[in-house]
């Protein structure tokens, strides 16, 4: 066995740090929490205001508009209908509102950071290991500080989801910006583009497919996290899964699980098709 005398623990220090943080900045966290909650509630309200058939029609039309495939669009639109048939419609909307909130926040933070990462080398050097850490850290670990700082429920779920889902947006934005062909950039500069014009007119539009791939990945990761965050009391499909595990109710777990999969398929297809539309035309 590893000698006990060599053991050094950082756990007390981490605990103390979090405790001090809460003690010192409780009002700050409270206001952040309130802000996120109101954002979340707005999203939720909008989602609830749309009738159930609106979703099905919306998925069908969006899918048809972006892919022009009729059969695929019908199948895709049938998936949310199935979720409704399992009686999980409300849960699915609950999950969706957390996902949308987290993804929107991830984009608001991630896009500018991604641009910064592509433009300033030092930012990239510092950020890369942090992003690696954010992605490889077991996602359960985020739940503890999120819960301690923001209590139980949906707000810490959004934050944990945000941390987990943020890296792909940042990474793929930076990647897309750096992949712009050199001759195109050089030509833009030769015609008098400023640094900002170069980003706005050339690099961002050309990076769009890569950025949207990042949005897609972020959404998928957020979806995975939504199930996990049910452990800190976020309602939604994850809660159903958790409940079924506790009661060893395989059938119920299957319904909830497959609903998560359906949700994932719908979001994945829609965002991927959108990404394709942004690619520069091949002919």
């Amino acid at each position: 066995m590893f000698p006990e005398s060599f053991q050094v623990h950082v756990a007390p220090a981490v605990n103390r740090f979090i405790n001090d943080l809460i003690a010192a900045y409780a009002p700050v966290f409270d206001s952040i929490s309130a802000g996120i909650l109101s954002f979340l509630l707005t999203v939720n309200e909008i989602l609830l205001a749309i009738p159930w058939w609106g979703y099905i029609l919306g998925v069908a039309l969006l899918s048809w508009y972006s892919s022009k495939k009729v059969v695929a669009s019908i199948i895709l639109a049938a998936l949310p209908f199935l979720i409704g048939m399992f009686g999980l419609w409300g849960m699915a909307l609950e999950s969706l509102s957390i996902i949308i909130t987290a993804v929107l926040m991830a984009l608001i933070i991630g896009l500018p950071v991604g641009v910064l990462m592509a433009e300033v080398r030092i930012v990239a050097t510092i950020l890369r290991p942090i992003l690696d850490g954010m992605q490889t850290m077991p996602s359960f670990v985020y739940l503890i500080p999120a819960m301690m700082l923001f209590g139980l429920g949906r707000v810490p779920a959004v934050l944990a989801t945000l941390i987990y889902a943020l890296p792909p947006v940042i990474r793929l934005t930076a990647l897309g910006l750096n992949q712009v062909p050199k001759p195109v950039e050089e030509a833009a500069l030769a015609y008098g583009a400023t640094r900002w014009q170069l980003i706005k007119e050339v690099r961002l539009p050309l990076a769009m497919p890569s950025i949207l791939a990042g949005v897609n990945q972020t959404t998928m990761m957020a979806l995975a996290m939504v199930v996990i965050s049910s452990m800190i009391g976020a309602r939604g499909l994850g809660q159903e899964v958790l409940l079924s595990i506790n009661r060893i109710d395989i059938g119920r777990g299957f319904e909830a699980g497959i609903s998560v999969v359906f949700l994932a398929i719908v979001i994945d297809r829609l965002t991927q098709n959108m990404a394709k539309r942004w690619e520069p035309p091949k002919r």
């Binding site: 001759p183 050089e186 030509a187 833009a188 030769a190 015609y191 008098g192 007119e201 539009p205 002919r283």
Partner: protein
């Protein structure tokens, strides 16, 4: 100030690329001959351009010729500081380009000079029309005005009706026509062309050369033209300079260069052309003699 007959004056221009991050090369390195030699031999730096001095007159087509790696692309990029020269002076229409600040440089690039690239450098996500508009947009011109100008420029290069297409659906020759239209629409006094026709097949290349010659007859721009193709240089150029390993080895009219190559390098360059000339001459004389003989028989 410069005499007005000269559009571009280049004096003692140097470019030394550093290959190591912490190796900063400045004009003081250039002044020291031993230091330059040391850098040239070492692995840490590349001396791309040595002591280049040139002057280009208004309205002439000036050709820079050399093999790849001879520094000609570096030279043309220095003129609008896409590459920062290590030391030396560049004066364009009386303005010192090297001394320009960021903002001045942007204005200079927008107003005075336009460039055509070997790899076109078109924006794949914009239509042909929007590509031609691009420079005008950067300059801040009104949408209607720039569209009208772009349509006209496209007509000039023979691409009327292609406005709504994307670059990906055009052939290489057509893409370069867009590249030329994009430059012409800026109405610059100086046109930089960096091997614009090198990537095209011979027939299209010739077609575009003719097109440029025709346009130049109407426009009388100062054209700074880089190429590695001697026949292109001979067709297009009023005067030419030949570069070798970053230095200019000869400047003169195409005829002078062919007749009196300055050294072996230039001689090798023009050898093909001379051989072809001789061969064509032989063939023509044969034909002539054949005809004459034919006349006798009949």
């Amino acid at each position: 100030m410069e005499t007005p007959s000269e559009a571009i004056v280049i004096r003692d221009l140097w470019k030394i690329y550093s290959r190591k991050k912490d190796l900063r090369i400045s004009s003081s390195d250039v002044e020291n001959e031993e230091r330059v030699e040391e850098l040239d031999k070492g692995e840490d730096a590349v001396v791309a351009m040595k002591n280049v001095s040139l002057s280009v007159n208004h309205g002439e087509t000036f050709i820079i010729m050399g093999l790849s790696g001879s520094g000609k692309s570096t030279l043309i990029r220095c003129l609008i500081r896409l590459v920062e020269p290590t030391s030396g002076e560049i004066v364009v229409n009386g303005e010192n380009v090297v001394a320009m600040r960021k903002r001045e440089l942007v204005d200079f690039r927008r107003e005075k000079i336009a460039m055509v690239f070997q790899h076109y450098g078109l924006l794949p996500h914009r239509t042909v029309l929007d590509n031609v508009c691009f420079g005008l947009k950067l300059r801040g011109e009104e949408k209607e005005a720039r569209r009208a100008k772009a349509v006209e420029a496209l007509e000039q290069v023979g691409l009327k009706g292609w406005e709504k297409y994307y670059p990906a659906s055009l052939s290489g020759g057509m893409r370069q026509r867009v590249g030329i239209a994009r430059a012409l629409v800026m109405d610059p006094s100086i046109l930089l062309m960096d091997e614009p026709f090198s990537g095209l097949d011979p027939l299209i290349r010739r077609e575009l050369q003719d097109e440029m010659i025709r346009l130049q007859k109407e426009m009388h721009k100062t054209i700074f033209f880089v190429t590695h193709d001697l026949s292109e240089a001979l067709r297009m150029g009023d005067r030419m300079a030949i570069m070798k390993k970053g230095e200019i080895v000869q400047v003169g009219s195409p005829d002078e260069v062919i007749a009196n190559p300055a050294d072996e390098y230039v001689a090798k360059f023009v050898q093909d052309e001379r051989e072809q000339l001789q061969r064509a001459e032989r063939a023509l004389t044969k034909e002539q003699m054949g005809k004459e003989a034919g006349v006798h028989v009949s």
